[in-house]
Symmetry: C2
């Protein structure tokens, strides 16, 4: 039978998954609003970000209360601190989706994205949503291989971002400065959103293995060293 501590840890993990699902949905819907110049969807994304912020604050309070109620060893602290960092990544992702939606709203009834860039931006939006969806899965599954895979998927985002810039900087760009500015900012929003999804996945790797994803080789994975949200574990060194 699970003790109260692990129940609460699981519940905090559930909160992180909920945040990831909300912001993944938000970036998808914001992309639709942007490309279709859909004001209603844009407004709904902007309004819905308040819920993401509220969950983040709640998770933070609950994390602190949880630690205050027991004698935490360093491992427990690292788990909860890592969870707090994940919630900060997810909250920031929500903000980025909101920025995309605000741009859609600003340029309504036009689309901020010219027709010849629609497919590139669509792919960026879809990829961002997929990355966040995988990040949510990884929080639940604690599958380290899947978590490490996100970083490879993120390479595609970098390619798309470069494509966007190449088109912007091409002599044949005919859409003017305002659109160039809009597209530049959008590209950055999607790129940063993807960074945060990858960051969330890397923190899961850290929770499971006790090692930072950047420092790991491609050798076979060690067994769980550190505790995880929902799991148990022993002492760990290295930084959170």
């Amino acid at each position: 039978m699970r003790d109260a501590y692990h129940e609460e840890l699981d519940s905090i993990g559930d909160g992180l998954v909920e945040m990831a699902r909300l912001v993944g949905s938000a970036i998808g819907r914001a992309t639709t609003a942007l490309l279709d110049a859909d004001l209603k969807i844009a407004e709904s994304v902007i309004a819905a970000d308040e819920r993401v912020d509220a969950i983040q604050r709640d998770l933070e309070n609950r994390s602190i209360d949880l630690l205050a109620r027991q004698q935490p060893v360093a491992t427990d602290l690292r788990i909860v601190v890592t969870g707090l960092r994940m919630s900060a990544d997810l909250e920031r992702s929500g903000d980025l989706a909101r920025h995309v939606a605000k741009l859609a709203r600003l340029r309504f009834p036009q689309s901020a994205v010219p027709a010849d860039l629609h497919s590139t931006v669509l792919e960026m939006g879809q990829l961002a949503q997929r990355l966040m969806s995988k990040a949510a899965e990884v929080i639940i599954s604690k599958d380290v291989e899947a978590a490490l895979q996100l970083e490879a998927d993120d390479d595609r985002m970098d390619e798309l971002h470069r494509t966007l810039f190449q088109r912007l900087l091409d002599d044949r760009w005919k859409h003017g400065i305002e659109t160039a500015v809009d597209v530049t900012l959008c590209g950055r929003y999607y790129e940063r959103f993807a960074d945060h999804a990858v960051s969330v996945a890397k923190r899961v790797v850290y929770l499971v293995t006790g090692e930072h994803a950047d420092e790991r080789g491609t050798a076979s994975l060690p067994g769980p060293i550190a505790g995880t949200i929902g799991g148990s574990g022993g002492e760990t060194d290295g930084d959170a």
Copy 2:
């Protein structure tokens, strides 16, 4: 005589001040590199960001070890968690200064900023550095009024950012798309840097008063409710 806990808390506070000073210096030097097309300074800013990241990791480890060595009440946890959030803001600020420097390096031997925008960008860089310098002071002084003042100063950054956009979107813009993209990204880096400085100051307000800066009225300030880095205090509610 101060106990070991408060000594270590003070030391963590010192680490935050050091980070703030380093990133404040970085944004100033990055601005010089950008406007003067100075490759050496750009390279030094890029290299120096590693130190900022290293301090952040060290503060995180020390924070966790500190809490593990004693029975933390909720207040202690909030202090340390708030310190961790401040170090994350400061680390991200260092990244933004590094982005400015990378842009300077990318466009060398040209300046990425056209001559007629130099004074605007210069003012943004100087303001960013000043805001971070004040944030560092506020960490030391715990002066709530000074901390709240940063948000007012940040209004000037928003004005400058708008000026930049107005110039970009003016029909008479003659510098082409690449420069428009560069200036757009730069404007965003400075704006986000300032946001992080304000965020650091707001967290000091929270540490001192137990209330979030956004929720406070302009009534006279309550006395210290929560503990602070370097101080002592009692129970608090509200979120970190």
